[in-house]
Amino acid sequence: MAAILRHLGWALFGLLVAWVLFVYFPGLLARIQPNTPPGFVRIENGWVYALGGLLVVVGLIVLYAWLATLLANRRTQRKRSFWPLVGQGLTHLFMFLVLVFAYYPVLQILAASFDPRNTLYRILPPASDNLLVRARVIPDFSQLSWENYAKLFDGFILYPYQAVLLVAAALCLLLVLVLAGYRRLIGDVDSDSGLGMLQGRSLTAFALLSFTLVIFLSPAQFTGQGTEAKFVLWVRNTLFVSGITGILAVLLTATAGYAFARFNFPGRYPMLLVFIFIQMFPGFLGLVATYILISNLGLLNTFTGLVLAYSGGIISFGTWVYKGFLESISKSLEEAALIDGASKWQVFTKILMPLSAPMFVFIFLLQFVGTYSEFIVANLFLTGVDSWTVGMGLRNFTTGQFSTRWGLFAAASVLGSLPILLTFYGFQRYFVSGYTAGSVKE
């Protein structure tokens, strides 16, 4: 029976693939209009040349592998096959192509951000000897300028004490990076070592300094004309909201996760179910209701209102993840402390909280990153350019009256994604381990 079902499944799968290949795909191709718009470079049968070029590269790799193995074999008097080396070469070629695919949008956006001419929607092809540049496959780097970036900082006044804070924060970040690099070089993986402690301290100092800076920046410092001159203010707003939301997420989920993991009160299981199922309602479709609630509380167009609206989002998931984390820690230490007369609260604050730092970081970062790129809720709750967030600002460059300001969008995207890129690469370990350890039990 099972065998029949399995064969039936494969047969269905085969039919599906056949349908996609022989019915759907030709239909798709038939939808392409065979005409070329002005400025569009089309080479008849160009793919033959491309494929030929690729085959030449493959051939070179095989040749290189063969020669290298031949020479090595002659020197060492051994008989090794050259296929593993070919495999390596082909893997590198493949990885190179994947890298091109992954970084192509990044390259385009970087190029557009340095191009003051707003070239995305220009019909005239750039004058260049390179076919790829003329076809605009590779961006035209002939006119680089900081103009787009300058517009984002136009009329921005930084007070001296803020400049001092900024420099101090930058120094702390630099110290963290240098320490991280040095520790990797000497192979120091212990976070309790002297250098590790120093790295942690300077990271904390960086976070505190930048948060102070974020708090003390005010809309009065942005005197430039046009909406784009408020970009730094948007970044500041976003960092502020995301930071507070992240901290709130940790505060709300920590005690709940502890209770679910360690206490055995009646009603624990139903409460966990409630937590899970609430999460499944498409959260932001309660938006009008949330909007009415926040407006009745008189918190519309305030960051407090926005933070409150965001706060419900991660509670269930965070509690679930933290509970899973605590259950993976042995209870013996706590039991000893409880016998010695410590209260449950003391056990939580003195024993578990220091152990849970990685999980707190994960929950904070998850909420931080999620809130940073959110724009739907923010769009509804915040009005006025002064209180926009990065997501709203970026959306405004590409829609509505700014539909052609591609260069500004590009520059703002590059700067706006930097905080998240840095966070992500800096805390990659936490993201990966948090996703795999907490949410998914293997």
Binding site: A102, V137, A256, P266, G267, F275, F284, A289, G298, E442
Partner: protein, 450 residues
Amino acid sequence: MYRSPPGARGFLIAIGLLGGALTVAALAGLLLFWALQAAFPRPVEEGYPGYLILIFGTLVLIPILVVLGRRVPYLTDWYYLLPAITFLLAFTVFPIILTIYYAFTDYTGIRNGKPDRSTETAIVRVEGRELFVEGNAHDLLRCDQPDCAGQALEITTRTQRARVRVEQASGNTITLTAPPPFAPTLVYKINEFRFIGFRNFVEIFSRAGTVLIPVLLWNIIFAAGAVVVGAIPGLILGLMLNNKNLALRGFYRTALIISWAIPVVISVQIFTAMLNVQFGPINRLLGLLGAYPIPWLTDPEWFKVSALLISLWLGFPYWMTATLGALSTIPEDVYEAAKIDGANGFQTLTGITLPLLRQPFIPLLLGSFAFNFNNFGLIYLMGPQPGVEGRPSTAQAGDILITWAYKTAFQADGGQAYGLGGAISILIFFLTVAISLINFRFTGALREVR
């Protein structure tokens, strides 16, 4: 140590006490707020901010909790859950309940239960239940009924406001159902929404053939397709990068995470620009290879292909990382044993690696399916969609259920039909629950909790 009453009784007592404390605190907050308003009146336009209710409520709640904790010690276990529960109740459960309620009403952008400021009318004189205005009351207030019977109104003075109902209006006289609580100076019409039962659901299902079923079908295909196009390349890359002899392995691994790290709100908008039919670099590249410009975002079918293409770019780093993580848990000696037995690379892959990856991958696949099922950001950010004949502007070629619901509820061309949007949300909720139940069944997450 203290001990809770066992079973359902203990649970109900705890819930009852906590719920009671929260209710009492909320009511006390509201009463204090009203007392403040009555004691020190302020103009209507700049009244006391509503968050004072929250502050008063919290101030009342804390002593109640302290006293309760002394008298009923086992309740203190629940105090650890209280912050999370309160926030969930206020900012998740309450909106959900309200949304479910709206799903059975004709709530729209116009009928939003708020006073219509454009109908502001001055009241000349008040006599008992009768209000006198200058001119024809029906025309000034733009009532729905010819004699304004049953119309809800808001009456205000400088510091007070109240809602009243009209019994009837004729000429310049408005007769209310009850005398107003104070002598008002201004009156507004309230745009009421009404309870309409299952009419929103009837509307969805009566047009199921042209809207609901195609959207749902595409929603499922998109979610499944997004998982497949992300997972298969990610799996292949993970397997390739797991080769310990490969040089630059760490570099590739770190460099390829880029598309996971860029905020979606940025990357999807870059892609929509790159997929432009005439100017987009992707079409330019394909043009060099001999292709005519592909209508990526302007043709209904190609739009779907674009959505999957962007999913591929966004999704593969996650799956690559997941594969590498899962592979690192497979012990080395399994492979050594296979080598001794004379298995070649392909046999090792299909006989050992892939079967061992199945167990950790099933929950990830289902979780990713559930995420993509409601992947609002991607579809919404791809911008205006190519139209399909016979479908409303809120549910076009690439729209999935959640973007359909959002556009119905919030966009002007959907009439801001929040009631209808709420009804669609409830459908999405049931579908999500169904997916999650399957997920739990496969992963055994719930059994483990017990």
